[in-house]
């Protein structure tokens, strides 16, 4: 279902290269965090880099008015290092803060907190971001605002019962200013999703409930942009199944259940990259 729905202005090579270089710096910074803390969720973070880059640098309209700005809710809060690395690129936080992640003296928590600049929802407990997003989207519509809500979830997260509650609720409310991402990287905490609980039926379920269902390559900017452009035209809540790889680009853990790697692995990656 890739492609279709261009908004008429194809992305320029310059813009594409800009997005690529931002993502690459963020990817390196996530891996670099391993020098300072080996307990962060590197695998899940690297799965989210391109999605977050695209949203933050092409779509999200910032502002103070809660109904006339866009919202970014990282429901898979364990990918916080990726979001932090991109908030550095945005200028919300200083790069030095990244090296103090999870440290008692640092600002950056293991999972997002709203006291950190640029964070729209405190997350960390899975399955809660979509309900919150439906609430924000409903509030925006009630006041006639133009804000849009982007919620990023994982595939393992779909096991949570609250997802069903929120998925059915969004359709009942007809919140067409809500776009949800589900990263299909095929792993959850203990093992591959196929071993824990199959997820292949998910697009059928979301479609049956009444969502517009799209899919894309979650690491390919053109695929992401085409799909988001199409999503923004929809008259219903949209879910984008984004095929991603856990640990994308970091060979020591890429496409494995492993979240973490050693500083040596990080050094090897940064030297060769």
């Amino acid at each position: 279902m890739e492609g279709g729905g261009h908004d008429g202005t194809p992305i320029s090579i310059e813009e594409l290269n800009k997005l690529k270089s931002i993502a690459e710096r963020a990817r390196k910074n996530v891996v670099r965090m391993l020098f300072y803390d080996q307990t962060i969720h590197v695998g899940s973070s690297l799965s989210s880099i391109e999605i977050l880059t695209t949203l933050l640098f092409k779509y999200i309209r910032e502002g103070k008015d809660p109904i006339n700005r866009d919202w970014l809710i990282l429901s898979k809060g364990h990918a916080a290092p990726a979001l932090y690395a991109l908030l550095v690129e945005k200028g919300y936080i200083s790069e030095d803060e990244l090296w103090k992640i999870q440290d008692i003296s640092g600002l950056l928590q293991g999972h997002p907190e709203t006291f950190i600049p640029g964070i729209d929802m405190s997350t960390g407990s899975l399955g809660q971001g979509l309900s919150f997003g439906v609430g924000v989207a409903q509030g925006i519509k009630m006041r006639g605002g133009n804000g849009r809500v982007f919620v990023i979830m994982g595939d393992g997260e779909q096991d949570e019962g609250e997802i069903w509650e929120a998925m059915t609720h969004a359709v009942a409310r007809k919140v067409d200013n809500l776009i949800a991402f589900i990263e299909m990287n095929g792993f959850q905490l203990d093992a591959a999703t196929s071993e824990v609980k199959p997820k292949d039926f998910l697009p059928d379920v979301w479609r049956a409930v009444g969502w517009k269902v799209l899919s894309c390559d979650g690491h390919d900017f053109i695929s992401l942009i085409n799909t988001i452009d199409e999503a923004l035209k929809a008259k219903a809540p949209v879910v984008i199944f984004a095929k991603t790889r856990r640990g994308m680009g970091f060979k020591a853990i890429e496409n494995t259940v492993n979240q973490r790697a050693s500083p040596d692995d990080a050094k090897k990656y940064l030297t060769n990259a």
């Binding site: 109904i67 919150f132 609430g135 509650e165």
Partner: protein
């Protein structure tokens, strides 16, 4: 003392809420398919566009309300006490952690859903809410208490707040008393010298009844309506610990972690005196009335009198 009756607390609540919606344009009401039973329906009838029944989905209800608060509304969640606890983790991780302006109003607390039995009887909710940072707890004793607290809760107080009510059983306790509600302040229902009974909610009816009996036995007994359980009136508790030297707490809730525990924390810190705790120690059961259950589990004036005689001897 005659037991007079007024409108049940939930009806007073529901009607007043609809009134408050007229001036408070940001007020939105969210429930999980219990709008009729909780009397949130009066708000629905007046403001259908600001009323949301999310379906039987308590977890989603809580985070949906959190999202509405983030977007600038003043959400009030209305549900059965028991089933809101299903979403305790959502309350903890979204509403309390982000310190969002979401009020949680519950009916059917304690034994008040008598017929439905233990699955529906919330005897642990105060403890669960009390332990949450940023959470405030208000427990009105009767309809008059609802009238003096709800406008302040809805229009003036900011941040997470748990507002605990029962179902139908609403003996008159505070009607006609001249008291302006302030967060963190309890008030004296009856003064005394030898002993103080402290509590909140409908069981204060039994506290007053016991105090009347104890007076006849020559034991001068004070009765305090704590009303604000978090923050709690530490100064008032200390004052009566010093003045009467003995405290009995009564609550329609587990004695483990509830109102008695909250009072004991203050007493031990400020001025230790002997205490007795009257409340639940296990699950409830079905009965035809809340009154039958309060008597069956000994959360009544008789138990207070026995505890008082033990403390005074």
């Amino acid at each position: 003392m005659m037991q007079r009756s007024t409108l049940p607390m939930r009806d007073t609540f529901g009607r007043l809420l609809a009134e408050l919606g007229k001036t408070n344009k940001d007020l939105v009401v969210i429930t999980a398919d219990v709008g009729n039973s909780t009397r949130a329906m009066y708000f629905r009838e007046t403001f259908p566009d600001r009323y949301f029944n999310v379906g039987i989905s308590e977890q989603d209800m809580v985070n949906f309300a959190a999202g509405l608060a983030a977007a600038g509304f003043k959400p009030l969640v209305v549900n059965f006490a028991m089933f809101l606890m299903r979403a305790w983790e959502q309350i903890r991780n979204s509403i309390a952690r982000m310190n969002l302006d979401v009020k949680l109003a519950v009916t059917h607390s304690g034994y008040s859903d008598s017929g439905d039995g233990s699955s529906h009887q919330a005897l642990e909710d105060i403890a669960l809410m009390r332990t949450l940072p940023n959470m405030k707890i208000i427990i009105p004793a009767d309809s008059a208490d609802v009238k003096r607290t709800l406008p302040v809760v809805v229009n003036e107080l900011r941040g997470p707040l748990y507002y605990r009510m029962g179902r139908d059983y609403t003996p008159v306790i505070t009607e006609g008393l001249d008291y302006d509600f302030k967060l963190g302040k309890g008030y004296v229902l009856k003064d005394g010298e030898d002993l103080t009974i402290m509590g909140a909610g409908v069981v204060l009816y039994d506290a007053l009844k016991a105090a009347e009996e104890l007076e006849k036995m020559g034991i001068s007994t004070a009765v305090i309506n704590l009303l604000s359980i978090k923050p709690i009136d530490e100064d008032l508790i200390e004052y009566y610990a010093r003045k009467t030297g003995r405290i009995i707490t009564i609550e329609e809730h587990s004695i483990y972690g509830g109102i008695g525990s909250a009072v004991a924390e203050v007493v031990v810190k400020r001025y230790p005196v002997p205490m007795r705790f009257i409340g639940a120690t296990t699950f409830g059961r079905s009965a035809r009335s809340e009154r039958d259950l309060l008597d069956f589990y000994g959360i009544n004036s008789k138990s207070i009198i026995n505890a008082a005689l033990e403390l005074v001897k």
